[in-house]
Every structure is written in structure tokens, then in C-alpha cells.
């Protein structure tokens, strides 16, 4: 005998089969409407020269099995538009400065309702070319819900190894860091840089940016190689 509750469950499962094929992640091209949000505030208001200061604690596993931990400051500075892509669209950059690490640039496009990742540039050598994605992928957008998969990032590296990033929206989370308490959305990036496994968790607060970050690189055979923990300490807006 099938009771009413079980009937509802069965109906739910059957209807589930109809919609399970649909990815909950919205198509970036479909819903790319410009929406500045409540009060007209952009998802990340930026001005050239804005600075985010982070406290970074990184642990490096040495080849002898020992660990080395250091605490440094990492500065993320908004440079504004730095180049144009093949279609003539502006590419903006954040410059990442950290003691003992070559300067890097995160190449992005900041729209009122989303931030697209466009690539990266490491300034470790004089003749290095930036990695530019053929199609910018959403890093974060307004209205993200837990349980969504964002489009995968996939590009080839210079040495031939493929870089893959799978992005999952874990869900909303309230986070307290030195800079204050923030309502964030937690994003999990997993993937491979050739033989290295990557696990990066980002807590993004609308209007503020990245407030916390955990990054881990590991190999199946060698275990965890590095672990970094970032925490927002302060934001310095230019002109304030």
C-alpha cells in the first residue's frame, strides 16, 4: 500500500528526472543583464588605486617532511584597464604584491552585476606573456545560490600541462575577519595544474570583495605541498 507521503516522494522523484538535466548555474550570456542591484551599488565598486590588505599565513611542506610556516602581508591593488581583448573589450587588472613572490596580475572584467575572470599575468620574468582566456568566465555574480556549478575554467599552460578549475558555489556564510564581519558567498575552486591538485576556497562579500581565502596545493603521492590562509585586514579606497 502506497501512502500519500510516499506518492508525493515518487512524484517528486519523477519530476526530478525532468529537471535534473538542467544545470542550476545560469548561462552567463543569457542573464548578462546589467543590474546594479539594490541602491544602484555595483557588485564590487572600484577605483584605480584601491587597495585590499590581507594577512597571509602559508605553510610549505619540505621534501624532508618538515613544515615551514610564514606570515606575510599580501596587497591587492586595482590598476584599472590595462589592455583590451581580441574583441576590443576592456580588461582590468588587480596587482598582487607579496614579499618574496613575483608580482602577479589578476586579469578581470568588472561589470555591475558580475566579475569575469579573463586570465592572469606573472611578472616573474621580463618576457612573460599573459594567459588570456578565450572566453571570460564568471568568477562571481550577483544572486549566486548555494548548489550552483559555475562554468569550468580550462586552458593550456606553457609547458603543455592543462589547467582546469571547477567552481562550486557552496552557499552563503557569515565570516568574521580582522576587517569586520561580512555576509559572504563561499566558492570552492578545485582542479589540476598538471600533476598538482588545487583546492581554493574563497569567501566573497558583495561590495567588499574577497574577505577570506584558503588555498591548498597537493599531489596524490606527495601529500599537501602548500597551504595558504588569507584574511582581509583592511581596505584603503583611493580618494578617501
Amino acid at each position: 500500500m502506497v501512502d500519500a507521503g510516499m506518492k508525493n516522494q515518487l512524484l517528486l522523484v519523477l519530476l526530478g528526472a525532468l529537471v535534473l538535466g538542467c544545470d542550476p548555474g545560469g548561462d552567463p550570456e543569457v542573464d548578462a543583464g546589467v543590474d546594479a542591484g539594490v541602491g544602484g551599488q555595483a557588485i564590487l565598486p572600484v577605483r584605480k588605486g584601491d587597495i585590499w590588505r590581507y594577512r597571509v599565513e602559508s605553510t610549505l611542506t619540505r621534501s624532508d617532511g618538515g613544515e615551514e610556516t610564514r606570515v606575510v602581508e599580501r596587497v591587492r591593488k586595482y590598476l584599472g584597464e590595462v589592455r583590451k581583448d581580441a574583441e576590443g573589450q576592456a580588461i582590468e587588472a588587480f596587482e598582487i604584491v607579496e614579499e618574496g613572490v613575483p608580482i602577479e596580475q589578476e586579469l578581470v572584467r568588472i561589470l555591475p552585476d558580475r566579475i569575469l575572470a579573463c586570465g592572469s599575468l606573472s611578472l616573474a620574468g621580463p618576457n612573460l606573456q599573459p594567459i588570456i582566456f578565450a572566453n571570460p568566465v564568471p568568477f562571481v555574480r550577483r544572486g549566486l545560490k548555494g548548489g550552483e556549478d559555475l562554468p569550468e575554467i580550462r586552458f593550456g599552460q606553457k609547458g603543455g600541462a592543462e589547467v582546469v578549475r571547477k567552481i562550486r558555489v557552496i552557499g552563503p556564510e557569515e565570516v568574521e575577519v580582522k576587517a569586520g564581519r561580512f555576509d559572504t558567498i563561499k566558492l570552492l575552486f578545485t582542479g589540476q595544474d598538471g600533476p598538482l591538485g588545487i583546492r581554493r576556497t574563497v569567501w566573497f562579500a558583495e561590495g567588499t570583495g574577497i574577505v577570506r581565502e584558503e588555498k591548498e596545493r597537493f599531489t596524490k603521492a606527495g601529500g599537501v605541498l602548500t597551504h595558504e590562509s588569507h584574511e582581509l585586514v583592511a581596505i584603503e579606497r583611493s580618494g578617501e
Binding site: M1, L18, V19, G146, G147, E148, V169, I170, T190, E216
Partner: protein, 265 residues
């Protein structure tokens, strides 16, 4: 319930209960702990256990995600992955459930088992894929204690993700159901409006036909001028038009309708 059905249900229930008792007798499944950690040998450092209890308790309360940790001092009587599933089946509560089983001193662990309504709704394939990824990262961590902590972190993220995904699908299902019901209602309403329009149209048609019929029948009857009285006016010797009749018809009948004995003079 009819007596026969009751008897059958009772027999089936007894059978199930006996099978369960027999199974549990072999496996000797422990009771669910009051908190989230079953560690009879106090293998986990006290501080870790306290932090984990607090963290997992909050997660269970806020998000209905139930992550339990079982640390066994020795190997269970069945393969650990089977034991983990059995324990989850007995202990699991909430929309998303995971059991992390660790056997002290066994480098193969920890073993993970997941379930719950939201996890089932999110789908078997994404759950399996995510579990494989999680397991890979847990295995990369060195140290049994560290692996348990990594497993908690992985499972917390995974269950939250799957729970939200399940909720998302549930919302979508409700929206599909609502849309289907709305379409049904709209269809019924449209059918009723069509039926009503047909009835009203039919009645109007009949009424129109009746009116036309009456009109035609009235026009086909002889038309009579009203009878008028006549009298001599101003002493004239004759008068005209008395009892005149007009008929819409052939000229051949005109004479027959003319008043007899007219005094047109």
C-alpha cells in the same frame, strides 16, 4: 485496515525486525552518540573533539546537515565501508548526512558514507564525483588526525553544496508543478469560456432566427389601413378613400380587394 492486510503487514514487519536484529547482532552497531562524535577509546585529542563537536553541532542545527564521526579502536567485523554505511543507516538524521569512520591505526581510512533526502535529490552522479574528489584530497593529507579534519572540511562543503542543490531542485520542481497546475487551470477556464460563448451564441442565433421569422411572417400578412369613418365635408356630394385596402401582391388581386360598393362615385 482489513484483518488479512493487518496480518500480512504484521508478518512482514516481524520479518523485517527479525532480519534487522540478526544483522545488528552480528555487527553490534553502537547507539548514536549524544553529540556528533563516537570515540569510546578517546582517540581524538580532547581539544579537537570539543572543536569538532561545536562545529558539527552548529552545522546540524543551522543547516540540518548531520556529520557524525565514529572512531573505532579496532577493525569492525565487516569491511569498514560496509560498517560505515550500516552506521549511517542507523544514526543518520537530517537532509544531508555523512558518516566519517576511522579505525585507529589503519592508514586506509577514513571511510565515508553519505545519504539524506537532499543528497538523493541532488543526484547520484554529482555526489559520487564529489566524493571521489574529496577522497583524493583527504588521502593527500598526511596523518590520521589531519585526515579526519580534512574529511570533516570536505564533507561539510560537499553536504552544504548538495543540500543547496537539492533545495534548488525542489524549488524548480515546485515551480514546474505550479506552472503545470496553472496551465491546467487556464485550460479548464478556456474550455468553460468557450462553452459559455457557444451557448450564448447559440441562444442569440435562435433568438435572431425567431425575430427574423416573426418579421417575415408579419410582412407577409395583408396590410390594412385602419377603418375610418367618413362624412361629407363642406357639403360635398362625395368622398374618397373610405375602407381602402392595400396589399403587397400581384396586381391581379387588386380588384378583389377593392371595397365593394365604394362610393368613389
Amino acid at each position: 485496515m482489513k484483518p488479512l492486510t493487518m496480518v500480512l503487514a504484521g508478518l512482514i514487519g516481524c520479518g523485517c525486525a527479525m532480519a534487522q536484529d540478526a544483522g545488528e547482532g552480528v555487527l553490534q552497531l553502537p547507539d548514536r552518540p549524544e553529540g556528533q562524535i563516537h570515540d569510546p577509546g578517546n582517540w581524538l585529542p580532547r581539544l579537537d573533539a570539543e572543536v569538532l563537536e561545536q562545529r558539527l553541532g552548529a552545522l546540524r542545527k543551522a543547516d540540518k546537515i548531520d556529520i557524525t564521526i565514529a572512531v573505532l579502536p579496532s577493525q569492525p567485523p565487516v569491511p569498514p565501508e560496509v560498517f560505515a554505511r550500516q552506521l549511517l543507516g542507523r544514526w543518520g538524521e537530517g537532509d544531508g548526512q555523512t558518516l566519517i569512520l576511522h579505525v585507529a591505526g589503519d592508514p586506509e581510512g577514513p571511510w565515508l558514507a553519505s545519504g539524506g533526502r537532499m543528497v538523493r535529490l541532488a543526484g547520484e552522479v554529482p555526489t559520487k564525483e564529489a566524493m571521489v574528489e574529496a577522497k583524493m584530497r583527504i588521502e593527500a593529507v598526511s596523518g590520521e588526525r589531519e585526515q579526519i579534519l580534512a574529511a570533516v572540511e570536505e564533507m561539510e562543503d560537499l553536504l552544504r553544496f548538495l543540500s543547496y542543490r537539492g533545495r534548488y531542485y525542489e524549488e524548480r520542481l515546485r515551480a514546474v508543478q505550479a506552472s503545470y497546475q496553472l496551465n491546467e487551470m487556464q485550460g479548464r477556464l478556456n474550455r468553460r469560456i468557450f462553452l459559455l460563448a457557444a451557448v450564448v451564441g447559440g441562444v442569440l442565433l435562435l433568438l435572431g432566427a425567431a425575430l427574423v421569422s416573426v418579421y417575415w411572417s408579419r410582412n407577409r400578412a395583408p396590410l390594412w389601413f385602419p377603418v375610418t369613418s367618413w362624412r361629407l365635408r363642406f357639403g360635398a356630394p362625395y368622398a374618397g378613400g373610405n375602407d381602402a385596402v392595400m396589399r403587397l401582391g400581384g396586381p391581379e388581386r387588386r380588384n378583389s380587394l377593392a371595397p365593394k360598393g365604394g362610393s368613389d362615385g
